[in-house]
């Protein structure tokens, strides 16, 4: 059916999107790579010079770098654990016959649509504030001392906020997978007297395996870039206690005006993200045909 004419038309239709994305991908990345080899600070213009691998070396030997990598990993793993385990549990609960299922779904999915700065501000002021937050009110009610969450457990507090934002996503994806589970098989297992936990382990979990993988991989991509939640709540502190790699690079570029250093950090972030992306692409690619 495809004549030569329709083929060249198709090529013409594809071209703008491909060219735009190609430029968008290559030009800034090439610039980042170039800057990462320069001594370049916006505060001292005219003193730009070739730095070789100094920026990488500098970034690599900075104790803040290791702390930020550690924080990035804790943040990603912490949020993933909460959202995947919580997501499975909530999805299974919502999938049960309940009254008002539609409304329950809407309530559960809602946090996903709250923009990160708003989510962070709500939690910081309304929920976790040491004197006026709901948690403090609860502590006072039981006669306990309120906790100053962002000062004492900064990274944990950010994990809670980000997990709240992503729990709906995990729940929704897992619920979608759960709803395609073969009911008859489950019934047969039930009639044969298979207890609930083994039905879960041998039927439900394997069926959801693919969805769980997708949730983990997609969330990881987004979680590596957590930024606004940190900016609004702890600003990376105290010290570097809640600084992740994204925030460290932002600090270098925007607060220290260290273009070379920030670019080197950016390249490190690309390497890290590519590592994750490799697995995601394989999982998605399998489903293309």
């Amino acid at each position: 059916m495809a004549t030569r004419q329709t083929q060249s038309l198709a090529r013409l239709m594809r071209a703008p999107a491909i060219i735009l994305l190609l430029v968008w991908m290559l030009v800034p990345l090439a610039m980042t790579l170039y800057y990462s080899f320069l001594n370049y600070n916006l505060l001292s213009p005219g003193q730009t010079s070739w730095a070789g691998f100094f920026n990488y070396q500098y970034f690599y030997t900075d104790p803040a770098f290791f702390e930020s990598i550690k924080n990035t990993i804790i943040l990603v793993l912490g949020v993933l654990t909460i959202t995947v385990v919580g997501g499975i549990a909530i999805a299974m609960l919502i999938d049960k016959p309940i009254f008002g299922q539609g409304i329950v779904r809407i309530l559960v999915i809602s946090p996903f649509f709250v923009m990160p700065p708003v989510a962070a501000l709500i939690w910081k002021n309304m929920i976790m504030h040491p004197s006026y937050g709901v948690f403090a009110d609860i502590a006072k009610f039981f006669g306990a001392n309120p906790v100053d969450w962002f000062a004492q457990y900064p990274l944990f507090s950010i994990i809670v906020i980000v997990a709240w934002q992503w729990l709906p996503f995990a729940t929704l994806i897992l619920l979608t997978a759960l709803q395609s589970l073969d009911g008859e098989q489950m019934e047969a297992a039930e009639m044969d007297g298979a207890p609930a936990y083994s039905r879960f382990i041998y039927l439900t979990l394997p069926h959801m395996a693919r969805a769980i993988t997708v949730v983990i991989l997609i969330q990881t991509i987004f979680l590596l870039g957590v930024y606004a939640e940190i900016l609004v709540t702890t600003n990376g502190g105290p010290g570097f206690a809640s600084t992740n790699l994204t925030f460290l690079i932002y600090r270098a570029a925007r607060l220290n005006f260290d273009i070379g250093g920030a670019a080197a950090g950016g390249i490190i972030a690309v390497v890290l993200a590519n590592f994750v992306a490799f697995f995601l692409m394989r999982a998605v690619g399998k489903n293309l045909d």
Binding site: W24, L29, F99, M115, F169, Y250
Partner: protein, 274 residues
């Protein structure tokens, strides 16, 4: 599938599910409630019944010119999505209806551009915006947001277009339909739902984008995400006001979001979970 469930079990599940749902929704609910309180009430301790005053909403508008960032959010999210659609519809169309051997590779490559961490290109984008005068302009940010969402737009459209049966076209051609009729009477009506879904999800994503909007705007082009982030320090303790601004910022998108649950699964998993 009607599995027999005793009434008691159903009531038990219902109570459990509603409890979980209300706990998850509570921060949003409490923000809405607080926005209807006076500043004094807002810090007086836990209280679910506000005095239903709209004072804070008026304050937000009169003190901060709330309308401006709100309009910026609308312009940026809708503008960038429409731009993306203009580029993506022909591309997705061509890939769905005249696929070549490389179509799959191209799609995978497009998806891979989405994996690039934003912070990795912060330095060049920031410098480009600074030097070309695009800093704090709506046009610069619109184009940037368009590029960020373009891969998802192409992908979503592609998965929708692929569901349009190609045979229907052939049948129309046999009946002597020209290209114009083909597009107007057959393809457009079948493609519209997919395009609408894509539009909806991408407006939501662009509305909530917070990294670039904070980096590249100050006052003129700042959408709600950047505007609210700047609330964090000075207005920290004016909670009724903060809640009012937050409620207005998330309200429209929350309602849009409720209608887009299905598209969300499809759009964000690139068709990997159905």
């Amino acid at each position: 599938m009607a599995r027999a469930v005793s009434k008691n079990a159903k009531i038990g599940y219902t109570i459990a599910a509603w409890t979980v749902a209300l706990v998850i929704f509570f921060p949003i609910l409490y923000t809405i409630i607080t926005s209807l309180k006076t500043e004094q009430e807002a810090i007086e301790g836990f209280n679910l019944i506000p005095s239903f005053t709209f004072e804070s909403y008026q304050t937000v508008q009169s003190q901060n010119d709330y309308f401006k960032p709100f309009m910026n959010s609308v312009i940026l999210s809708v503008g960038s999505t429409i731009l993306a659609l203009i580029v993506a519809i022909p591309a997705a169309w061509a890939m769905a209806f005249s696929p070549t051997k490389r179509t799959k590779d191209i799609l995978m490559w497009m998806l891979s551009t989405k994996m690039m961490p934003a912070v990795a290109v912060l330095v060049p984008i920031y410098l480009i915006f600074l030097r070309t005068g695009l800093m704090d302009t709506r046009i610069g940010l619109t184009v940037l947001l368009m590029l960020i969402n373009l891969p998802i737009v192409v992908w979503m459209l592609y998965t929708y277009f692929r569901e349009i049966p190609g045979e229907i076209l052939e049948a129309a051609r046999m009946d002597g339909a020209g290209l114009r009729e083909e597009i107007v009477h057959i393809l457009a009506p079948m493609a519209v739902p997919g395009i609408a879904s894509t539009l909806l999800l991408n407006v939501i994503l662009a509305w909530n984008e917070s990294f670039w909007t904070i980096q590249l705007t100050t006052t003129n082009a700042a959408p709600l995400s950047a505007f609210i982030a700047s609330f964090s320090s000075p207005q920290g303790l004016f909670w009724a006001k903060l809640s009012a601004a937050s409620t207005l910022a998330i309200g429209p998108i929350l309602i849009l979001g409720w209608f887009s649950q299905k598209q969300l699964v499809r759009g964000l998993t690139f068709g990997a979970v159905k």
